[in-house]
């Protein structure tokens, strides 16, 4: 093929050069660019500062038009932060607190308990969910056999199965992996049953919606069936899997906290248990502090998977933006 030397090809190249120039100009640290890069962080910080200030003032009854809530159920932000500090890094002067539930490191210790069950549950959900979804997408037979159960269980409010799980597995007990005690088997079951379906369904959807013209192209250029899966279907499905994992990470978190609400441990039953137990004991600062910890954890998780998505499927970013 001879090289293009028409004026129209030049138009394309000039456009490219203009784009390069824009990129170069944007790379300089002008005040406008610093603002553009940091404005979300700045706005978020101001936003949160305002939120916490209103919280503090409201809890101190200093905002006249907001209803007066008793300090037993609505602690101040500063009280909450004090419980947060004691619960995470210890050093608590416990005088003046109304309940012995708040001990040094209590949030951290319970968090570890939650994290153990959650992590194992998520590994199982993702590790089983992806192959199940892939097989359902690839084989009509597997799809036909599995789909009634997958769809029924995934549309059912998962907590409705809990009584059955209690009957079969029972509450209490503990399981260990490689000598490390993890937690109650029932919690693990709840996590897996809540978290596995988004992975399965999204993976399946990825395989099913793989662009037919990409598959045709691969076939024309000589792809065998395994090659079509390896070189087209799997990469195409990957961002779907990431979306499924994202969903399942937050579902699993609901599952583990829910399970901890219900299992009723005597001590160290996880963050969910701590929230439930401290609220029952009217230790509101601890409840709020534990809740805040959970919120931060969930936020980090979601942002982390978002970053993962951007790295794994950059071509989807443009269409999603």
């Amino acid at each position: 093929m001879t090289k293009m030397d028409s004026p129209l090809a030049e138009v394309e190249q000039t456009t490219q050069a203009a784009a390069d120039e824009t990129r170069l100009r944007d790379a300089k640290w002008t005040p406008a660019r610093i603002w553009r890069r940091s404005r979300y962080a700045v706005i978020t910080m101001i936003n949160l500062a305002v939120f916490f200030t209103i919280w503090e003032l409201w809890a101190r009854d200093m905002i006249p038009f907001l209803p007066d809530l008793h300090s037993l159920v609505f602690p101040t932000f500063s009280e909450t932060m004090r419980s947060f500090k004691i619960g995470w890094i210890g050093g608590g002067n416990l005088e003046g607190f109304n309940n012995k539930l708040l001990a040094d490191f209590v949030i951290a210790q319970n968090f570890v308990e939650t994290l153990k069950v959650y992590t194992v549950g998520m590994v199982i959900s993702i590790g089983l969910g992806i192959p199940i979804g892939l097989m359902m997408g690839a084989s009509k037979w597997v799809d036909a056999i599995m789909s009634p159960y997958v769809w029924a269980l995934s549309s059912l409010p998962r907590i409705a199965i809990y009584p059955i799980l209690v009957m079969i597995i029972g509450i209490g007990g503990s399981f260990a992996i490689a000598g490390v005690e993890i937690g109650q088997p029932i919690s693990l079951w709840v996590v897996v049953l809540t978290a596995i379906f988004p992975v399965v369904i999204n993976t399946w959807a990825g395989v099913k919606t793989t662009d037919q013209s990409l598959i045709n192209a691969a076939r024309v250029f000589g792809a065998s069936r395994p090659q079509i899966y390896r070189k087209v279907v799997l990469p195409y499905t990957l961002p779907f899997v990431v979306t499924g994992v994202q969903l399942s990470l937050s579902r699993g978190l609901i599952g583990v906290v829910l399970a901890e609400f219900l299992t009723g441990a005597t001590k160290l039953g996880g963050v969910g248990w701590l929230i439930f137990r401290s609220a029952a004991a009217f230790n509101a600062p601890l409840t709020y502090a534990a809740l805040l910890s959970l919120a931060i954890f969930a936020l980090v998780l979601v942002q982390g998977t978002r970053a993962m998505e951007a790295r794994i499927a950059p071509w989807r970013q443009l269409t999603n933006a």
Binding site: M1, T2, K3, M4, S6, L8, A9, V11, E12, D211, S213, L214, N216, A217, A218, R219, V220, F221, G222, A223, S224, Q227, K231, V232, P235, Y236, L238, A313, P314, W315, L318, T319
Partner: protein, 284 residues
């Protein structure tokens, strides 16, 4: 099949001295509409011969089976009746001697330009060393005007550049026939013209055999040695029109000023319009 076996090796010469490369005889073909669970006949009794080095353009109303024809030649579909042969042998599947360019580009979005063009070497055992394959990928990328974009991802490219990737991927294995299914259909008029010109120079340089589908009669006249007008569904060959204009047709001046152009265009236009109207009266 037996009649084909007999034809094998037989040298059939045509008037201009070139050898028939692709021959379909009495070919009927269609595909299954999976959702409606029924078979759809797309083409009936197609007798068509494409000579080595020839540029054949298929035009016809939407849904007339042009794509089905190209898919049979590519080996993606098998004829229901009749035969389709490539170089004397029945077409049983895809092959490295036949490459395709798609209307929607069909390039892999997670691969760079280089990696996309490399794909045919990865999928087939072509007896080409890795180094040679890499060299050919670089050369063809340069030839289609994508020098410097080897490491770009498709989402960073314009539509015209994406189709250049599609053309590079098809040409990199030096196939004996290039199948193009409305390759420029989704492009704007300017880009389209650039790529048409480029394709013409490719055809002249490499004596490339091409089967090219288009909806544009102007494009058909600009590129084709022969233009086969396909009737509305189920498609059959309505007429084959020879385009007797010297090449290059696009390099200088307007092809529209050629003395034969107006008559040819009007004739083709009448045929295609007739078929398109026929298709409409069938469905309503």
């Amino acid at each position: 099949m037996q009649s084909i076996a007999k034809r094998d090796g037989e040298q059939v010469s045509t008037a201009n001295g070139s050898r028939p490369l692709i021959v379909t005889q009495n070919m009927t073909c269609g595909y299954e509409l999976e959702r409606e669970r029924k078979l759809l006949t797309a083409l009936v009794n197609i007798d068509l011969t494409v000579d080595e080095g020839e540029f054949l353009v298929l035009v016809g109303p939407s849904g007339c089976g042009k794509t089905t024809f190209i898919n049979v030649i590519a080996g993606l579909l098998q004829p229901w009746e009749g035969t389709a042969t490539f170089d004397g042998k029945p077409i049983l599947g895809t092959g490295a001697d036949r490459a395709m360019v798609f209307q929607d580009y069909a390039i892999l979005p997670w691969r760079t330009v280089e990696q996309n063009v490399m794909l045919p070497f990865e999928l087939r055992d072509l007896d080409v060393s890795k180094e040679e394959a890499r060299g050919r990928v670089q050369a063809v990328i340069e030839n289609v005007g994508l020098a410097g974009f080897g490491r770009s991802f498709p989402h960073e490219l314009s539509g015209g550049m994406k189709q250049r990737v599609g053309i590079a991927r098809a040409m990199v294995t030096q196939p004996r026939v290039l199948l193009a299914d409305e390759p420029f259909g989704a492009l704007d008029a300017m880009t389209r013209e650039v790529l048409q010109r480029q394709l013409e120079s490719l055809v002249m340089d490499a004596k490339q055999t091409v089967i090219f589908i288009t909806h544009s009669i102007d494009e058909a006249i600009a590129l084709g040695d022969r233009i086969a007008v396909i009737s509305h569904r189920p498609g059959s060959i309505r007429e084959i029109v020879e385009v007797d204009m010297e090449r290059p047709r696009l390099a200088e001046g307007e092809i529209t000023s050629h003395p034969d152009y107006g008559v040819l265009r009007e004739h083709l236009w009448d045929l295609v319009k007739d078929e398109a109207l026929g298709a409409r009266s069938d469905t309503t």
